[in-house]
């Protein structure tokens, strides 16, 4: 479909009035076309107002519905905590090398993991992220994937401390967690498990670290990566 043909569909797209095949074509076109995205945003605004203006609004949703929703929510993930050291050496034997980068490296149980603080579970955390972003001295590290253009995460840092923001990574199962790794003096060390949703997770890096990586690991974390790295990015020199 040409740009002009897609453009003609934007109104009906905003109203969910497209068949699946055409909807898919619109969705494939949008990422590459700022003009269509801008037009669609305006259509969506109008659609939202239509939805918002439906009359006879009940004051609230029916009784009991919240309880059903609440009980269907998944359990909380582990907060950002250092992984537990495995009790047997057998677990180490399961370790699979990372990939080209780390295959030859000696994997080290993450001594640094204990330095990672617990996830601050407050709304006030947003302020920490924004104040860090507002500080002109902050540094940004983009973690990306060579294979999947849409897998990525950003790390913002100031004096070695910061946060993971805007992660976009593949879905993981309930028995998995994201885990953060760093390359330090040629060794892969764990910086802690991130849970299922790494957005806003605080991190701390050391001057010896040169590369950050995230992988999906069994819940609870592992001493060394057991799956391929999802995203990675070089740390700036002289943190």
């Amino acid at each position: 479909m040409t740009h002009n043909e897609i453009e003609e569909l934007l109104g009906v797209y905003a109203l969910d009035a497209l068949d699946d095949d055409e909807r898919q074509e619109v969705e494939e076109h949008l990422p590459s076309c700022p003009r269509c995205r801008a037009e669609l945003a305006a259509h969506l605004e109008v659609a939202a107002m239509l939805g918002n203006a439906v009359g006879e609004l009940p004051a609230a949703a029916p009784d009991g519905l919240w309880d059903r929703i609440s009980s269907s929510l998944q359990d909380e993930p582990p907060a950002l905590v250092p992984f537990r050291r495995p009790s047997s050496a057998r677990r180490l034997a399961l370790v699979v090398p990372l990939g080209a980068v780390a295959a030859a490296l000696i994997l080290v149980v993450g001594l640094l993991a204990a330095k990672v603080g617990n996830l601050d579970n407050k709304v006030g955390h947003e302020a920490s992220v924004s104040s860090l972003l507002l500080n002109p001295k902050h540094q940004t590290v983009e973690l990306t994937s060579a294979k999947h253009a849409n897998w990525r995460a950003t790390v913002i840092l100031l004096n070695g401390a910061g946060y993971i923001i805007n992660p976009s990574m593949p879905a993981i199962t309930r028995s998995e967690t994201f885990q953060l790794w760093a390359l330090s003096r040629g060794k892969v060390v764990s910086l802690g498990v991130l849970g299922a949703r790494p957005n806003g997770a605080p991190i701390r890096v050391e001057a010896t670290m040169t590369l950050l990586m995230i992988s999906a690991e069994p819940l609870g974390g592992t001493p060394a990566p057991t799956t391929p790295v999802l995203v990675q990015g070089d740390l700036p020199v002289g943190l």
Binding site: A47, L50, I69
Partner: protein, 194 residues
Amino acid sequence: MRPELSAASDASLALAIARYREDALAEAYRRHAGAVFGLARRLLREKAAAEEVVQEVFVRLWNAPERFDPERGSLRSYLLAQAHGRAVDQMRAESSRRRREEREARETAHGGYDLEREVGDIIVAGQVRDVLGALPDTERKPIELAYFRGHTYREVATILGEPEGTVKSRIRSGLKRMHGQLAVAGLGAKGQQP
């Protein structure tokens, strides 16, 4: 609930939800579930089906809060858009489509098909209603049939006896016209807070 949540912005709420704070989700539910339910009920007509949509929408907000982008509009708009999409999906699912068609056939048999009456009972509040009502019929009807009745534009074309190309153009031009009018009336993306 911690006191700060009741005054938290949408963005702060979404962030707290991303941190697995269930009280933040409860606050989002308190603010917006009524509107979400109202829209779903309007579209699906069945209470149980509408409740299901509400549940899906809020569970999805819990599981993927990052999909809500505060830059692009209010949380309520986002939730309503989600609810609309889900409700329309349900309406188009084979079994419910059959039920709907049977119901519409019954209604037609009783009262005769009357588009004005079909969509006329859609009560749209205040200025949005005025702006929608001020559109030329050729634009208003396809928008109402698509948005409030969940029809695809091809179905709308069949209902109105118009070419498909005409219908999609008119929906697009009608939305543009509404956007202009609503902007004139001072209603923009940020004007949707309760």
